[in-house]
Amino acid sequence: MLALQGAAELHLAALASIGAAAVPVHRPDELADVDRLILPGGESTTISMMLDANGLTGPLAERLAGGMSTLGTCAGLLLLATEVSDGRDDQHCFGALDISARRNAYGPQTESFEADLPIAALGPSPMTAVFIRSPIVERVGPEVEVLARLDGHPVLCRQGRAWGCTFHPELSGDLRLHRLFCEEMA
């Protein structure tokens, strides 16, 4: 669990509830010890700068290029994307997911919302998806599989072993996405 900044703690709690062994990652030696990585929500600009400050940018790029299993939520999805608009020019996009995303695309916090989201891969009942100053995915590459959409925009997608969602599965207490990610990648 990348834990430089943001909602790492709730992801760790979700992983603990499904019996997955999870540790926080702050440094390169800790990254080397894990076989898959969740990139949490938070501020993508801050997380990007702290990756640099803690010497994690190079090692993370290498691991992602090597096909490490990864799930990016909200800010984490932006880090996995190939292109981010309305962000900072210096923020990292590792390109593990061939998507273009617009940062904070719904507007200020008063536009943040919850939605019941049908996700076929998770079964018949919809997932309560919490969108907090979320990005919108504006383009998906040919290799990207879209697993859920909201108002036509992809909100959950995967490309090989890289998964990304624009909402926060860690906020709603619904553990199905964490479980699916852990089971498929085991």
């Binding site: 430089l4 909602a7 919302f113």
Partner: protein, 286 residues
């Protein structure tokens, strides 16, 4: 409430910086701030100049919103729900109902349930924190003593809140009623704390952080993120200090990194001894 509290979750292990101008806001974002707090004057200047401190003018807040990509918070006076309505209409991401501004109501805080925008409120102890949560606050910050560069009050307030939380977790069910009475807080919230061992909303720290080590100290004492007010823009060299405080907050439990980022920052803001203060901002709020 989940959506309101959600944004606070996203700010954890981050630094929210007080800014007065768009230029300050850019420096804060360049340094890695997770959010900025727009206000008319930093607390050290409010303390020095006196007068009534109010919400920032809308055009200043708008220029700050334009200048950065990160969330923008703004302060409203305690009880001044009309200022809060203006800030919500303007589209800020969080409102701080703040004791740093001159209170507008000597008995009532804002009924925060009436708003879509989330609120953060200050607290000096657990009772105050729970009263603010019962009014709809989605984040609590320990108050400290703003504008002093002196961390002692922040430590006192954090220890008071986290200490009482720990004590409540070992209380039996009958004792919880007594806790509610003593804290002047709803028993339902006291029960929630007894079960969860933590506040029902994130607990951040404010008031007196001036150095990277100050940020580390309050994080180690249980704060989940840090507000820095005068500590950055009243120091010798704001940009490197801002970055150092951000790195210290992320790596608060790593002394080697704290040492590294504490070097070469120049003078911190001049501090104030609490005994010499004419006004204790933390005493505002009820």
């Amino acid at each position: 409430m989940r959506v309101k509290r959600g944004l606070a979750e996203m700010l954890k292990r981050g630094v929210i910086m007080d800014v007065v101008t768009a230029e300050h806001a850019r420096i804060a974002e360049d340094a890695g701030a997770v959010a900025v707090m727009a206000l008319e004057r930093v607390p050290a200047d409010i303390r020095r100049d006196g007068g009534v401190a109010r919400m920032s003018p809308p055009e200043i807040i708008e220029s700050i919103v334009e200048a950065v990509t990160i969330p923008v918070m703004a302060k409203a006076r305690i009880g001044h729900f009309a200022e809060a309505q203006v800030l919500e209409a303007l589209g800020v991401d969080y409102i701080d109902e703040s004791e740093v501004l001159t209170p507008a109501d000597e008995a009532h805080h804002i009924d925060k349930w009436q708003f879509t925008v989330p609120f953060v409120c200050g607290a000096t102890n657990l009772g105050e924190a729970l009263r603010r949560i019962s009014e709809g606050a989605a984040m609590i910050r320990s108050k400290g003593e703003a504008g002093t560069g002196n961390i002692i009050e922040a430590v006192r307030h954090l220890r008071s809140i986290t200490g009482d939380i720990r004590r409540i977790t070992v209380a039996d069910s009958a004792e919880l009623y007594d806790w509610a009475k003593r804290l002047q807080a709803p028993v339902a919230l006291v029960r929630e704390i007894a079960e969860a061992g933590r506040l029902p909303v994130p607990l951040f720290c404010a008031g007196g952080v001036a150095t990277p080590a100050d940020a580390s100290l309050v994080m180690q004492l249980g704060a989940e993120a840090v507000f820095v007010g005068s500590g950055i823009f009243k120091s010798d060299n704001p940009a490197p200090r801002a970055k150092a405080v951000v790195e210290a907050t992320t790596n608060f439990d790593d002394p080697a990194i704290l040492l590294k980022v504490s070097r070469g920052l120049g003078e911190a803001m001049p501090g104030l001894e609490l005994g010499n203060l004419e006004t204790r901002l933390a005493e505002r709020g009820w």
